[in-house]
């Protein structure tokens, strides 16, 4: 996959008159090639096209973080990324966290610390946290708070989430040698 691919080639969609553009990307490790409407956001691509319903929309304007996914190693709010911008990208969503039927340490700690109540913001928090720990296995409280304050939660008061990320970082360092 390359960024150099000419994206200006469209096929006219006969019925709706909408233009389509082909994108090729990796979603949770799987190769995906799709023809999409260029107005589609990455969030809608993941949900409506890929049927990955774990990623949520709660504002649609990048303010709440519920739609956070990891794009090329960075946490982004997928509601304000065009799907076509993800051409050639590697995307990770909440569905990609658990491996071989086993929850990741981060997910386990979210459960153990009760870092969720209604659960709607949880995928976004998990992905922001995952991106943080991937870059910084030993973050300070301030670093965690800086990164996670782009995610809104109305249920928990955040303290359990902070605890979960700290204990997950500790366990990952110990158990995975990060």
């Amino acid at each position: 996959m390359s960024n150099e691919k000419d994206c200006s080639m469209y096929t006219e969609h006969v019925e709706s008159g909408k233009r389509k553009v082909t994108i090729q990307l990796k979603v949770n490790g799987h190769q995906v090639v799709r023809d999409i409407d260029p107005t589609m956001s990455l969030l809608h691509f993941l949900r409506d096209d890929q049927k990955l319903f774990g990623t949520k929309e709660a504002c649609g304007e990048g303010e709440c973080g519920a739609c956070t996914v990891i794009m090329n190693g960075k946490a982004v709010t997928s509601c304000i990324v065009l799907a076509v911008e993800a051409d050639g990208a590697e995307i990770k969503t909440v569905e990609g966290l658990a491996k071989n039927g086993k929850l990741s340490i981060l997910q386990e700690e979210f459960i153990a610390e009760d870092a969720l109540q209604c659960g709607f913001c949880t995928p976004g928090f998990l992905m922001s946290s995952r991106a943080l720990l991937d870059h910084n296995p030993n973050p300070s409280d301030e670093e965690i708070i800086e990164v996670l304050s782009g995610n809104l939660c109305r249920c928990t008061g955040y303290i359990p989430i902070l605890r979960a990320v700290k204990t997950a970082a500790e366990r990952e360092r110990k158990e995975l040698g990060r």
Binding site: L52, F53, G54, T55, K56, E57, A58, C59, G60, E61, E63, C64, A66, T93, V94, E95, L97, A98, L103, Q107, F110, I111, A112, D114, L116, Q117, C118, G119, F120, C121, T122, P123, L126, I144, I145, E146, L148, S149, G150, N151, L152, C153, R154, C155, T156, G157, Y158, I159, P160, I161, L162
Partner: protein, 802 residues
């Protein structure tokens, strides 16, 4: 006892179990109504009124209808169905006149959201803007009526009291003692006004409903992000004139509610759209803007309080007026107003008192229940007033409260006798005051000294109380079935939308049956066809009422198991004990059977069988509640009072007005902790939500009563950076004799009085009394700069129009 140090005397009740549905939620498997799709499903969008009050002159729908993919276009002319929880004052779509900026004017169902949005943009509406009712003062003048049919609105009579030819949706009252005499005899009389703006619930999942009206059977099928499936069923049946049985309501996972999803909201409109589209399922989802501006909010409120006290600090008289700026429709707002007349004094014993609570229509976004409804608002007024009284008397605010708090032998505003079983406000206050190291108010000299450093610290505290606000016939029920493996499948009628009902109920059943909590499965999706009735999932009532129902059902299950086991073991049921999923003879424990041997019926070695599948049920009803007397407000409205207190230490930057919450200690007399982990989460979550109301949140309207902050850009909620530095939850356990294991509810309470405690701490720091929320950096700073000691607020309606 705080947090992880907590130890329960029970094996399962009180333990720190993980919540039951956590695994689905951390893997993205949990499906919310927002996630659901059905064959042939259409998507709906609405057109909202751009004016607070306007005549709808005409709507041209022709272009929208002609757009390919559009299946239904509706306006107010298409239906006269009226909806309302307590007063039938709201149409699914406005007709003739719009009543707030955000009122729904038209709706479209189309093959996808994009097409629906485009169709909405093609609607041509001509409005004639009318002068809106801006605020409660204008509303009380009644020159313009928000509902000119108020004299004829159908409502629950004897409970709510709409006033003729007025904007008062309900005027509720309570009276006791001889107030005039008490004021005349008081050593000091102090009168104050306090207020706070409307605030949004902000559930992360916005309101969403999917409805299909079966074109053949006329049955209505609803999937909704809602708290009260059975209330939706009943109101839909009433409004659409069909049998309750013909309405099925499904509640999948719910992404937060906080009272905003307690009533009925998008379901009637989605039903009409489904009907107009020939019976296709229609999904109607509020955008975040609509969530702020169309769906209901917490009402703004103004409290005026006059108190009489003796020199030695006894409150002898209180006269209270609460005016609720409830917006365009009554919804839950009238019940909020009603609650204020029996709980609006706070947890104090005052012999002479009156409360007048008016739920008032204005042309603003309408109001509904919000976490502990009415209580954050009334306690903002009461607890600030108590603090000001103690200032004027020169008495320590802790001592002053201790002299006046409810205790066994005293009576509440509605005349209820407080006993040892009611819980103790004093224990809560004493615990939090100790936790923050209260040694008395700062002197003016201390303040001045600190002021020079640029930062001033202050400490303050506030009491709170709340009982579930609910009808006297409120009921809960549960059905339990045992599987062949001895595990139990439980169906409840309440929705677990994050508060943890499923986990708590499983723990109670596991405690009584003495089986691991993992062996109890609580069905996580509510379906009114299968799940047993529950009134509403609101009011912090469910641990108490659901818990009691589960205790009954679990005991019945145990009795049935023991009856069969007794026969099989050739003894009497009374001779059997149970432990670890087995029943055994009390004297010869080798005579034993496992639950699973009995679960589907017991078969003797020879093949004869007895018993049959073990199924049990349990119900509970609000025991002993009475309707309040319409004039005096006397009666028994409270199933269980949960008392509590917050104490705060904070630091104010006197140059910027920024506040840092250094510590907040919060104690609640919850009788018995059922799950420490979940209680902890209710407290941290509630405190931070209360903090939002205290220092940040609020609706801002311009002079045309248009909402100026309908998005996260300008309607902020606290983020992780805004957490208090430390939250210390304290659990007080004075058991309630008729509660499950002695427990009381605590879901809503942590939010109440957080603003009051912060307001009181700010007084301690600055020597300034703030009367208006939010206590934003701007409000604090402008208050300081004004040089005044009483800050009565800024005019929030002076913003320029669109």
């Amino acid at each position: 006892m705080t947090d992880k140090q907590y130890e329960s005397k029970y094996k399962r009740v009180g333990q720190r179990y993980n919540r039951k549905d956590a695994q689905e939620k951390v893997t993205g498997q949990a499906l919310y109504t927002y996630d659901l799709e059905f064959p042939g499903m259409l998507h709906a969008r609405c057109l909202f009124s751009p004016y607070a009050r306007a005549k709808i002159v005409s709507i041209d729908t022709s272009k929208a209808k002609a757009l390919p993919g559009v299946r239904a276009v509706l306006t107010g002319e298409d239906s006269d169905i009226l909806v309302g929880l307590y007063m039938q004052d709201k149409r699914a779509l406005s007709k003739g006149e719009t009543r707030y900026h955000g009122d729904i004017v038209a709706a479209v169902a189309a093959v996808d959201e994009d097409t629906a949005e485009r169709a909405i943009s093609l609607l041509d509406v001509k409005y004639e803007p009318l002068e809106p009712v801006h605020n409660v003062d204008e509303a009380l003048e009644a020159k313009t009526l928000v509902h000119d049919d108020i004299n004829h609105l159908k409502h629950i009579e004897g409970v709510f009291f709409p006033q003729k030819d007025s904007n008062i949706a309900s005027w509720n009252k309570s009276r006791k003692g001889d107030l005039d005499k008490a004021f005349a005899e008081a050593d000091l009389v102090v009168e104050n006004e306090f207020s706070l703006p409307a605030v949004a619930h902000v559930p992360m999942e916005t309101h969403v409903a999917i409805v299909q009206e079966d074109p053949y059977s006329k049955k209505i099928r609803i999937w909704s992000s809602a708290q009260s499936p059975f209330a939706i069923r009943q109101i839909m049946a009433d409004s659409f004139g069909i049998s309750e049985t013909d309405v099925e309501v499904h509640i999948p996972f719910v992404g937060g509610g906080f009272g905003g999803k307690a009533g009925i909201h998008l379901e009637p409109l989605a039903t009409l759209l489904s009907r107009a589209a020939g019976g296709a399922p229609v999904k109607l989802r509020a955008t975040r803007e609509a969530e702020f501006n169309t769906l209901p909010t917490r009402a703004g409120m103004r409290g005026r309080i006059k108190s009489g006290v003796t020199k030695d600090g006894k409150i002898t008289a209180i006269r209270v007026n609460y005016d609720w700026d409830s917006g365009a429709y009554a919804d839950y707002g009238v019940n909020v107003g009603k609650t204020a007349v029996y709980s609006g004094l706070g947890p104090y014993a005052v012999e002479n008192a009156s409360i007048d609570s008016k739920t008032i229509y204005t042309n603003k976004v309408f109001s509904t229940a919000y976490r502990g409804f009415g209580h954050l608002e009334t306690h903002w007024s009461i607890e600030r007033q108590i603090d000001i009284l103690s200032q004027k008397l020169g008495i320590d605010p802790y001592e002053f409260r201790m002299k006046n708090l409810l205790e066994p032998g005293t009576r509440t505003m509605s005349g209820e006798l407080i006993t040892e079983s009611s819980g103790s406000p004093k224990d809560c206050l004493t615990a939090v005051v100790k936790e923050i190291g209260w040694t008395g108010r700062k002197t003016e000299e201390e303040r001045q000294r600190e002021w020079k450093t640029g930062k001033v610290r202050g400490k303050g505290f506030a009491m709170l109380q709340k009982a579930p606000a609910m009808p006297a016939n409120t009921a809960s029920s549960v059905i339990m079935q045992m599987n062949g493996d001895g595990h139990v499948k439980m169906m409840i009628g309440a929705v677990d939308f994050g508060q943890g009902a499923n986990t708590v109920m499983a723990q109670i059943a596991a405690q009584i049956l003495d089986i691991p909590i993992e062996h109890i499965e609580v069905m996580s999706e509510i379906d009114t066809r299968a799940n047993p009735y529950d009134w509403n999932t609101v009011a912090s009532k469910y641990t108490f009422m659901g818990g009691n129902a589960v205790i009954k059902a679990s005991k019945e299950m145990l009795r049935k198991i023991k009856e069969v086991a007794a026969q099989a073991l050739r003894t009497e049921p009374e001779m059997l004990a149970h432990a670890g999923g087995e029943v055994f003879h009390v004297h010869n424990p080798e005579r034993r059977l496992s639950y699973k041997d009995i679960a589907l019926g017991y078969m003797y070695p020879g093949g004869n069988s007895i018993g049959g599948p073990v199924i049990s049920s349990g119900s509970s009803i609000a025991d002993g509640l009475s309707n309040l007397h319409p004039e005096t407000g006397q009666g028994l409205p409270a199933l269980d009072w949960t008392f509590g207190a917050h104490a705060v230490e904070l630091e104010v930057d006197v140059e910027t007005g920024n506040i840092e919450i250094l510590k907040i200690a919060s104690a609640f007399d919850i009788g018995q902790v059922i799950n420490e982990k979940l209680v902890y989460g209710q407290i941290t979550g509630g405190v931070v939500q209360g903090l939002g109301s205290a220092i940040l949140e609020g609706y801002k309207f311009n002079k045309n009563v248009q909402l100026m902050n309908p998005s996260f850009t300008d309607n902020k909620i606290p983020t992780m950076k805004d957490m208090p530095k430390e939250i210390v939850p304290i659990y007080i356990e004075n058991p309630q004799h008729d509660g499950p294991f002695g427990a009381r509810g605590v879901g809503e309470h942590p939010m109440i009085s957080v603003p009051s405690a912060i307001g009181n701490a700010i007084y301690d720091a600055l020597g300034i009394n703030f009367h208006v929320l939010p206590l934003s950096p701007e409000a604090i700073m402008l208050g300081i700069l004004s040089g005044k000691k009483e800050i009565l607020g800024t005019d929030v309606e002076n913003l320029p129009g669109h």
